[in-house]
């Protein structure tokens, strides 16, 4: 328990991740499911970026007048890649949702089961 309290930042991201997962499973509206997916993505990005933080560190921009310690640049670059992928997923999912609404006239997953 003491170890978890020391990593309370990470625990908060686990809670955020579970909130997103709950929305995806429990909510029927497709837009809300997509929002839940975005919350999960945000939790993962925050988790990875937080792991790159260092005590008293600054942004990893070296150069004249800058002194360390610097945060690890690798998680930042990875999360930048991840954000672009998340944007792509969101855009494609929104388009599929638009097309589903145009074809079926509803966004509720339980109603879509009946509408073939």
């Amino acid at each position: 328990m003491a170890a978890l309290w020391g990593n309370i930042d990470y625990a908060a991201f686990v809670v955020l991740f579970c909130i997103g997962l709950y929305i995806i499973i429990a909510k029927q509206n497709l837009i809300k499911k997509l929002l839940g997916l975005n919350i999960m993505e945000t939790a993962v990005f925050a988790f990875v970026v937080t792991s790159g933080m260092v005590d008293g560190g600054t942004a990893p921009i070296v150069g004249p007048g800058m002194s360390g310690p610097f945060a690890s640049p690798l998680p930042h670059a990875m999360v930048l890649t991840g954000i672009v992928v998340a944007v792509s997923i969101t855009a494609l999912a929104l388009c599929l949702i638009i097309e589903i609404y145009r074809q079926c006239g509803t966004l509720e997953a339980d109603e879509l089961k009946g509408a073939e």
Binding site: N7, A26, P73, A77, A91, I98
Partner: protein, 236 residues
């Protein structure tokens, strides 16, 4: 009943995750693996090896250039998939009102026209200085994309008067993969490795120009793709 079942299941799934994060090194611990593995070398040698003071840009364009190449291909593929899913020429959601039918408030139009040059200058600054200061191609591209989305509300509305003509829009949307292709081939010729950068003294300027070219490609391509996604979902 069903929702409480879902909540209980997810709470049960959270327990192993919480146990897992409890075993991780404390955030900010300088001796954690994330700071002692490759990151230590990136911080010590990155600015010298990549020529980018902003180490995130250095990692993105130089150490992990192939990753970024795949990344721009992903967002380009997302646009292609969106264009394939949504039929051309169909108006947006039924009942949502045609995008070009409702006139925009003159106050909003004036504010958008007033702020547009400053946003464009900020976006260009973020792109061009991305290798030495906070910023980079993707960040500047998002700023440019947001600006283009705003401008598409007041300028060039409708299918027959697009903000960017369709022929040049195709090339702008492919700018990022094309820039990576050009720099990759140039690096192949100069150093014998795809996406290689000349590292010997005296050619730092060429290396910097290659990075700025990549940043411009990513920024312009990203902005054009974001505008394309916006217009596609709006039904134009």
């Amino acid at each position: 009943m069903r929702k409480s079942l879902v909540a209980i299941t997810i709470a049960a799934a959270a327990v192993p995750m919480l146990i897992g994060v409890a075993g991780l090194p404390r955030p900010g611990d300088p001796s954690a693996a994330v700071h002692t593995h490759v990151a230590a070398r990136y911080i010590a040698e990155g600015a010298h090896e990549t020529g980018a003071d902003n180490l995130v840009t250095g990692v993105l364009l130089n150490y992990r250039g192939f990753d970024t190449f795949g990344e721009v291909m992903i967002i380009f593929a997302a646009l292609a998939a969106v264009m394939a899913v949504l039929p051309r020429g169909a108006t947006g959601l039924p009942g949502a009102g045609a995008a070009s039918g409702i006139p925009i408030s003159p106050i909003v139009a004036f504010i958008i026209r007033l702020t547009a040059p400053f946003i464009a200058a900020f976006g260009a600054f973020v792109i061009f200085k991305g290798h030495v200061s906070p910023g980079g191609g993707f960040q500047g591209g998002v700023i440019l994309g947001a600006l283009l989305m705003m401008l598409s509300l007041v300028l060039g509305r409708g299918v027959d008067r697009p903000l960017i003509p369709a022929r040049s829009a195709r090339w702008l949307q492919a700018a990022a993969p094309l820039a990576f292709f050009a720099v990759g081939v140039l690096g192949l010729g100069l150093t014998g490795a795809v996406l290689g950068y000349p590292a010997e003294p005296g050619r730092e300027l060429l290396r910097e120009l290659m990075m700025i070219f990549l940043e411009i490609g990513i920024g312009v391509g990203g902005g054009a793709i974001i505008l394309g996604l916006f217009l596609e979902t709006r039904g134009e």
